[in-house]
Amino acid sequence: MSGPVAERSPPLPRRPALALPTGRELVRRVAPPGIALGLVGAALWLSGEPGGSRLALSLTFGALFGVVLQRSRFCFYCQWRDFLVAGDPRGLLGILAALAAGLAGYAVVLGAWMPDPGGTRLPPDAHIGPVGPVLLLAGAVFGAGMAISGSCISAHLYRLGEGSPTAPFALVGTGLGFVLGFATWNPLYLVSVADAPVIWLPRHLGYAGYLGLALAVLAFLAWPLMKRLPDPVAPNLCRGSDPLRALFSGRWPVWLGGLAVGAIGTLAYLRVGPLGVTAEIGGRARQAAGAAGLLPARLEGLDTFRGCATAIREALLTPNGLFVAGLVLASFVAALASGQFQPARPRSGHAIRGLLGGLFLGWGAMTGLGCSVGTLLSGIMAGALSGWVFGVAMFAGAGGTLWLGRRTGLLT
């Protein structure tokens, strides 16, 4: 099967091919600093515009996030698959590290913003969504989409920068999946979501209580994984003593990327908003579908929920749009600089799996009010029960689909 098999973590960094034509080599040397300078210039220009500091920060955080995702291969599905198929727990430990770091960071921020979590209010724009059967379904469908298309939405975005032949189809599929999600939203809302409770755990446990409990759960999950760690081989970081080489060649260990994700998540929440990658995709899909007459006349209750809001965009540049743009461009820079930009001509398998998996991803992210980043990461960090529930359903959906796919020979 020529499908986009989830990338495996290479034991050693790849060496750039020696036989690159000079033109390509030139691009490799000139393009990364050029695009990086362009990103810096764009951020500086935005920060000088009235009201542009938020946009500039979004672009910067997006770029940092893109570099971290690309360098550490922070991809929920790849890590889950590595564990299920190859028994390698390092990636999952990286995801747990991201959650632990972000939980601690959010607790500090939230404690300052809302000293008393006990009232009726929720922390501003934190991704705390309704918990019910629809969320479980959304998570499971999202997970299935990950298994079919080879990764989640954020990973498709950073892989777009690596020249993945599947990512463009998966992202188009995601947009279509959102439209499908809007079409099915009203019945789901009326039957179930409207009555689903929005549960913010710090309200019941306090900040310290939630942080303690969440870290204990993460430790409980990490314990069996730690036991399965492979014997330490010469780590990539120590290859040679050149720190630049460690940064730009090979991959970072996922735990390092995870810690960076937790830090970026906290800083982004402090200054701009919770991390999320689907608000822009969803908002634009809603705009396009509305213009094409494919939307229900009204989406009941949708805009009153927290999460990756898909409210119709009025401005050309939005914080989330710039975040996603920064992510893709910076991942492209990082991939190019490390010789991991390997564009491939898409074949029909890529297109089919991308579109179909993307459809599942989009439906799941719309119905679950966010994806593995917005609902799972940002939600859990903020103390949302919805983040945990979505996470469990997502990993179960991805694992189940992978199992079924391997049994039938459709997935590898």
Binding site: W113, R121, P124, D125, L270, G273, E314
Partner: protein, 324 residues
Amino acid sequence: MPRLSTSLLAILVGVSAPGAALAAQEPPTPQQTAGARTEAKASPLVSTEWLEKNLDAKGLRIVEVSVEPGVFERGHIPGAQNVVWHTDLVETVSRDIASREKFTALARRLGIDKDTTVVLYGDNNNWFAAWGAWVLAQYGLVDNVKLLDGGRKKWEAEKRPLDTRSAEVAASSFAAPAPSPAFRARFADVLAVAKRERDEQILDIRSPDEFSGKVIAPPGVQELAIRAGHIPGSVNVPWAKAVNPDGTLKSPAELKTLYAAAGIDGSKPIITSCRIGERSSHSWFVLSRVLGYPVRNYDGSWTEYGNAVGVPVVNLAGTVWGGK
């Protein structure tokens, strides 16, 4: 407890109450003849410069009322406290201003008493801060309540400092009186004017397209009316005409000229109205507090009047409800 310690310091060095400083800040408001209201003793506006110098003044409470969530938390004027328009200043089930009990609890939490100077500010050109001033006025907090001229936008544009920590203030023992009807117009009042049974003026501050009936509401808003147009006898001066490009209010002389051109000069009682009564509280503040005219705000506005059965409506655009 920075506020407490500076307050103590202020007492020790014998700094005078901020009211005196406030009075010196702007030219005195024009005298007003009609109506039985108290005249504003000092300016209802404070400048960003004055506020930055007086952040630690004794007896001053700074309150942000912004509509966008997270704006306050990610950086507010040092010492400011947050009021959420959607939950704190209104009833969330029935359509009404916050009840007496709810408002009492809010004012106590904010440490606001009858003699406290309150500076309100917010995003969106102070729309919601002005709504806050209007609610405070109904509960007896009128003359000591000021708007920060230019609001959040000007404070940020001038790169003045912001803080992300929450202020800790001592609660007050304020007890809200029954809301005064002097600041609020109800449906029956407006209908009486529309039917020419009462000689008052209605100032509709919506956009010209909403006023003419070309559109029922601005794009993207959920709360609509079944009919388009405006209340008979009302005049249209969009709220934004009262504001300079930097967000500050125009000078009293300019404001007088602006409204006089529409026939509003304070000689008759005025009712301000818009779609849900929130933009119109901005114009209510300008007319009542800055110009000293007798004004009530009609918070039912077009979403009440335009949905009412059997009332006269003017529809200049000729938009007809229903099918073709």
